[in-house]
Symmetry: C2
Subunit: 382 residues, 2 copies
């Protein structure tokens, strides 16, 4: 029985993680979870899984929830609460499924507590990849990917030697606007952007798919997860999202992981790794039903966020922190109708241009640059 902690249990990845746990009650036990604003869902989850520890955002939420949960559940709150969930004694694996840079500190704490990290929070590696991977190495802790693309690469690498890898090829659906030219992107609405063709995900990541920033963040994440230079990371447009990503070895052999788009597969793989478990609810992939798979090269001029991401990643230091913070704020502004869709790119470009890079930043540097960048983005709007 593996003890599992989940940061962000009420989010898209969080709820799917809990579904995986529900399918394998004999293998996994939820020992701690953190939740966001959806206290009604949190209450349901608590009654279903009876975790001994739950963390909420505010002390007010803590009071609200505490009166409604079973006796065995302790409710905590705030940043300290997140850390407590991340380091819960009986947890073997921490699933980090929160959105944004709030996932960083709990991840570092969990690594120090020798928890295996199942990482769905991209920002942790994007903003502090050097700190997180170094701490994981020092503590002998595994970082397991939860993103479908990184899980695909990780699965394709099983039984292989890393020094025989030639490149990885991350596939990209192209998001809601993949068939639109840049001209056609003028005036697209939030509603349009939220219609992702293949995956059912949260709002932030769906917008990031439309701008292709999601893929850019994945490139940076892959750089850290697999310890690869950016020259060995390619991106390929593949609109069906059936091939989740690929690895090419030095002998020209390519290993790919495929499946119907269902995040529960990579989530379950991270939890069961190195073993695999049955997934009865999952839909079998029959390629003769799909008929065709399409591939196209990625145009960095069409998808400017990809260019920003590669460039920030190669420059390193605090540049990816700026990229990520500017993007988070810009997407938030877009979702609130305070910024146009193409304005997201402009805001990120400006934030990157003005920033003076700090090499090998400390956690304090990163948090400072993160805040400063967010303030800068807002200053552009007022």
């Amino acid at each position: 029985m593996k003890g599992i902690s989940v940061l962000g249990a009420t989010g898209s990845i969080g709820t799917q993680t809990l579904d995986v746990l529900a399918n394998h009650r004999d293998k996994f036990r939820l020992v701690a979870m953190s939740v966001g604003k959806n206290l009604a869902l949190a209450e349901e989850q608590i009654h279903q899984f009876k975790p001994p520890l739950v963390s909420v955002m505010t002390d007010e939420d803590r009071k609200t929830l505490a009166s409604k949960v079973p006796e065995g559940t302790r409710v905590v709150c705030g940043e300290e609460g997140l850390i407590e969930v991340a380091t819960a004694e009986k947890a073997e694996i921490l699933v980090n499924a929160v959105i944004g840079s709030v996932g960083l500190a709990p991840t570092l704490a969990a690594i120090e507590a020798k928890k295996t990290i199942a990482l769905a929070n991209k920002e942790t590696l994007v903003t502090a990849g050097h700190l997180v991977t170094e701490k994981a190495r020092e503590n002998g802790v595994k970082l397991l990917p939860v993103d479908s693309e990184h899980s695909a690469i990780f699965q394709a690498l099983q039984g292989e030697r890393m020094d025989r890898l030639h490149r990885i090829i991350i596939t990209a659906s192209g998001g809601s606007f993949r068939d639109k030219s840049r001209d056609e992107l003028n005036g697209v609405t939030v509603e349009d952007a939220l219609k992702h063709p293949n995956w059912s995900m949260g709002a932030k990541i769906t917008i990031d798919s439309a701008t292709m920033m999601n893929k850019g963040l994945e490139v940076i994440e892959a750089h850290w997860l697999f310890n690869l230079p950016y020259e060995k990371i390619d991106v390929l447009l593949h609109k069906e999202s059936i091939i989740h990503s690929m690895v090419e070895f030095v002998d020209r052999s390519v290993i790919a992981q495929l499946g119907t788009p269902d995040m529960r597969v990579p989530i379950q793989y991270a939890l069961s790794y190195p073993d695999r478990l049955e997934f009865h609810k999952g839909q079998q992939l029959n390629l003769w039903e799909v008929g065709k798979l399409h591939f196209a090269p990625l145009d960095m001029e069409r998808f400017r966020c990809m260019a920003f991401a590669y460039e920030s990643g190669k420059q390193g230091g605090t540049m990816p922190t700026v990229l990520n913070a500017a993007n988070e704020e810009a997407v938030e502004l877009f979702l609130n109708n305070q910024l146009s869709f193409l304005g997201i790119e402009d805001v990120i470009e400006k934030a990157l241009e003005r920033h003076e890079r700090i090499d090998s930043p400390s956690l304090a540097d990163i948090l400072h640059v993160d805040q400063e960048t967010r303030a800068f983005v807002h200053s552009l709007i007022k």
Copy 2:
């Protein structure tokens, strides 16, 4: 430095195997080889690779060749010669690339001599899978696939547990006539049949691709290589031959091996296994250049040989021996314009219908049924 013996060095797989050896002179050394009728090519190969031992088909060929080879090369002949090559003392790996059931006895001898077997000769497993796999187990000998499909499955299984496998999916290009209906197959010529769309291979296997018997034999081979019931072996039409085959696990995750069609990749993998080596001459797979991959279900009524193969495989015993022997003779007759293309299927059907199955046949039983079936096929033509 691995010592390599090659049975069938002048054939399609044989010459490509020697090309792999030539690319890695520091890793592999050719210690023995057998050749067929092409003595001119054999002579060239001998001068290039200087193997200490060469076997030819007849004593006459032996005399012809012996006078033309360097001093260090000994020339032997006949079935004994094949065995001598297969068991050559300094060989670590035997590449069995002969065509037809002649490959069986040398393979068994090589297994007893504890050689790793790189198997391109399908008939060995099709006709005597139970004997070969049992002997390999007893001797602790590895059977490594050389066929691109089986190599793909083998590669996809690295680092995985066999008991977590749900099914394998063998891809089939469909061969020269994949777009023709059964009616349109009336009157097709040998020349038409020899035009394989993707792979450059020998005549026998190219015809087998057109009838789909090649895929049928691969299904039976996969049954033995991976110890799987036929219910767990699916075939999928995929005309580009880019996805070489796939494995589906119990968690619905599918791992595939892909590449541009080049037999040197699976050959080299069998020789370098479990490592991979550079393959500079190979063409990199860029799926955006390919654009689309197509998939279609396999129609067993359109491709009757597939139905024969599954049925023979499930019945077991000497049925696959009949299937294979009848097919070999029928293809030979077709290549000599003594039988129509659709006549190949009819001949195989008749041979299977008349045969009384022997369960758990001995090697003698197999060889007897093989000869008897060939004689029967010829009796149909006269």
